[in-house]
Symmetry: C2
Subunit: 339 residues, 2 copies
């Protein structure tokens, strides 16, 4: 293992970033100057989003591999750009870590960053590296662009719009519960190696979330513009409250329409929690929640990985979930409380 | 004092950011959606820069007021944008802090952020707020733009160019030494209140650095484009190495030309260190180091707060400082080693 002190900050950055290819001829400068330089795209608006990932709050290095952490840090951020119906261009990465980490650990983390950059075709534009007296800190800012008329805000939903989600929900939280349980088991008896074979899907959802930009492309192809959109980071319930709050409307969704993977259901049963609760309040799915005009029903009904889960109502602040034909309950926003 | 838990993340952000005015009609959306949205400027390139400020590494809350910290976090970042000869447009702020902080502390920090945003006319575009199990973390990303032909990289210096700096050097480090000394005195005897009257300038340089965009405007007015530019964050010596390394040239500077404030000189004497060492290796001055074609001498010689300290030579890798007519020494890059 190579101590960081053998490199120093500048050489470490050079060493780590030389493996990053450039994707776009508009990128004039990335690492190695005071700032990155990118040609701006004519007739487009720029979008920006920042996320922090803090050790002990957002991740536990006890079971999160560094490569996955790097990958997730990028995806989480790009998810915000996609949620504007924009196309991400590049990211900056601020990374702080203790000097107990060897160079190889940082390489592993950046392998994950690189894999995500390649997967989504975004540039590593720049960043900052610092030591940390505390835990590992990742601060990623993503930059993207879109024609102004394509931007989807949270405030455009209107009565009768269809409410849609991509992918499936609750899996990341199921994975989190499994990983926490296995960690406890392992700490109690280090000879028991965790077997996660039966949980591969939900553990993957937690450790290595993916965004679904291909669905946005399909919507564009079909001429559908979401009337509102948000990414599902804090749980469907919390995001529905954001959409309805900003759009001054209500919503009715149907529990039996919620897309939930069978593995998520099975974990929910193990933990004696309703899978619907996982889907509503689990968080970290990084799927997209969006609304479309009801006139677009024919255009979206057959898009793979898009599920219509309900509709917007004119009743501002009234958010309901239909659990059964006779049981309708208000949707409570729990979200993720850091403090 | 109001505990953060009384607000929660979303309300805290709303509470803190409502005081931020918008400066630019091109800003379509800031806080409150998945990402900020800004109209891009025609025929300009975008520039991006990220900096981390970590408690215990970059600042000591023992003597750094939160308001100053917020101000400095912004300035440090804008400094990188100015160093590209670009104009900053907006910032995103990632902030993580322990829930021991009351709301009032976060308000104070954001007052500093707001003061800096107003001072430099930049928007708070967005950000992220998280709790931290560890210390306070500030991650600021700045975004700006400029016509492509005006961007000043680090690699454009050429033989005979004049080497210039803005403002004066070494003051921030002098301030740092004074603050560290007073902290020790205070910890040893809490009844002794530190008297910083005689050190106001250097303490200000450390706690509340300012950028000098007006000098860049003057250069533009006079039709002078720096052939290379960098901001002085790690100390003049380190930055000269960056310029010469990337421009494949050498440099000769003159100790008696270095702009050093009398208070910096006086602190250097107290600590028995040469003021030239402060200027070369002190760091955190956030002044600009730039080179101009020798033909521009007449245009720049009378610009206030610009000092010509030497010239570029064709001898790649040969960096010298003339201490006296008979004493010439190589410039060693110490820089700031985090690890």
């Amino acid at each position: 293992m190579t101590p960081i002190s053998q490199y120093g900050e500048f050489k470490l950055i050079e060493h780590i970033t030389k493996a990053f290819p450039l994707f776009n001829p508009n990128t004039l400068k990335t690492i190695g100057d005071d700032a990155a330089v990118v040609k701006s795209e004519k007739d487009k608006v720029n979008v920006f989003s920042t996320d922090l990932l803090m050790e002990g709050v957002h991740f536990d290095l006890g079971y999160v591999p560094l490569k996955h952490l790097g990958y997730k840090a990028v995806t989480v951020n790009l998810s915000d750009i996609f949620a504007m119906n924009a196309v991400p261009y590049g990211i900056t990465v601020g990374l702080a870590f203790s000097n107990r980490f060897p160079v190889e650990a940082i390489e592993e983390l950046y392998e994950g960053v690189r894999a995500a950059c390649s997967r989504y075709g975004v540039e590593l534009l720049g960043g900052d590296t610092s030591s940390s007296r505390q835990g590992l800190v990742l601060a990623v800012t993503a930059y993207g662009s879109a024609p102004e008329e394509e931007i989807a805000y949270r405030n455009g939903a209107k009565a009768n719009d269809l409410v849609c989600v991509t992918g499936d929900l609750g899996g990341a939280y199921a994975g989190f519960l499994v990983l926490e349980r296995e960690k406890k088991t392992f700490l109690a008896n280090p000879d028991l190696q965790p077997d996660l074979t039966f949980y591969d899907y939900v553990v993957g959802r937690q450790l290595k979330p993916e965004s679904q930009p291909n669905i946005l492309s399909k919507l564009r192809e079909k001429g559908v513009k979401p009337t509102s959109m948000i990414d599902i980071s804090d749980g469907l319930a919390s995001e529905l409250h954001h959409i309805c709050g900003q759009s001054k409307c209500g919503v009715t969704i149907y529990a039996d329409k919620l897309p939930i993977d069978y593995q998520t259901v099975s974990v929910a049963e193990e933990f004696n929690i309703s899978p619907v609760t996982f889907a509503l309040n689990g968080g970290e799915d990084y799927e997209l929640l969006f609304t479309v005009d009801i006139g677009d029903f024919q255009k979206i009904k057959d898009i793979e990985n898009v599920t219509i889960i309900g509709h917007i109502t004119p009743d501002a602040g009234v958010l309901d979930i239909v659990l059964s034909p006779t049981q309708i309950t208000p949707i409570e926003a729990q979200g993720f409380r850091h403090f």
